[in-house]
Assembly symmetry: C2
Homo-oligomer: 218 residues x 2
């Protein structure tokens, strides 16, 4: 059923479904099946059927799924039809690179402004997005009805900036700063911590090395 809360494990797979279904659509492939998707995505056919079942998405007995319908349904579940007003907090390298990411626009993320405290940055324009004085943040968020804040500050300012966003009515925070932030339960929080990903690369690397040592000593 759609209503009961669906596990994060399932949700995390949805973007992958969506992406691959998009490719199939481009290639004008109109029908697919759990076995076919399994070969593309690496999930088991059984898991794929379970996943779709969670959302009340149905195929056709004996004939599989309609690619376009499935693509649209998953897009709707992901809320890809809805447009978000956002601001970027911190116009450092990361903030600038996110500001100039064309893929965000394509996916309905409208970056209305970037904010920074550094005088050299204020007034600059990054791919059409203006860098404003951080002092104007509160007013801007409140009156431009900004819903998502993209946090790209250093770890010292992160929590403080998050708090300011929340006070001014933000609904979701996408946190790229290299620290954890604490938010009230009703605020949506998504962390994209680059250093954590780097540590994962590092772990796998290290693990692989000790595997080799192991096999040598056999």
């Amino acid at each position: 059923m759609i209503s009961d809360s669906i596990s994060l494990a399932v949700i995390r797979r949805l973007p992958k479904y969506h992406r691959h279904l998009g490719s199939l659509l481009k290639d004008e492939i109109t029908r697919t099946s759990s076995t076919h998707l399994s070969s593309l995505l690496g999930f088991t056919p059984s898991q794929i059927r379970q996943d779709l079942h969670n959302f009340g998405i149905f195929g056709h007995l004996g004939r599989g799924y309609d690619v376009e319908k499935l693509y649209i349904a998953i897009g709707e579940i992901l809320g890809l039809d809805y447009s978000y007003n956002t601001v970027i907090i911190g116009a450092g390298n990361l903030g600038q690179s996110l500001a100039s990411n064309r893929d965000f626009e394509k996916h309905n993320l409208r970056i209305k402004a970037a904010f920074d405290k550094s005088p050299e940055k204020i007034g600059q324009e990054i791919h059409g997005i203006e860098v404003l004085d951080i002092r104007h943040l509160d007013h801007f968020v409140r009156y431009q009805k900004i819903e998502v804040g993209i946090l790209c500050t250093n770890k010292e300012s992160a929590q403080q900036m998050a708090d300011r966003l929340i006070v001014n009515g933000i609904k979701a925070i996408w946190n790229f700063s290299p620290t954890d932030i604490v938010v009230p339960k009703h605020i949506i929080l998504e962390n994209s911590n680059l250093i954590e990903s780097l540590f994962l690369v590092s772990y796998k690397f290290n693990d692989r090395k000790s595997d080799l040592i192991h096999s040598l000593s056999l």
Copy 2:
């Protein structure tokens, strides 16, 4: 036991342990306990003891854990003492922002060069990292003993560039390109797909909205 492969769920928690233990160390707090860490990290005390047990890390009965020892032990498990030679493929906005990320250096990721095909970019320098002609990639990777490739290309070039890296002896690929790539089993692959994270924000947003509708209709 350390030798038996540890689940990814546990590994993904390690960077968080490491980060918070680092803070404790800075604050000159020398002892901690699973209950104390639980309050900081949000994992249950039981889970924390299980996690550490996995790695053969031991505290003291009745007295908890030594912060510094724990910090060092987790750092070692993550392989943070090892230095990696890396290159960035694609000096677009994302590639440039990663190239100028000072945190990477701090964590032993040595970016030796960035590569691009665009004549305007070749020869530029980003925070001391030179942008080289993509034609020189193969030779560079091979003779500079590059171990990690950071993939920041568009989706069209991603697989092809990954293949070139692999042929020339790369050991790990950190993929920021907006697509899946396929690599042989012995190659380490870590995906940091921004669009997937964006979709997750979008899903949570959408889900929250329908929650509200639900509660209104009660």
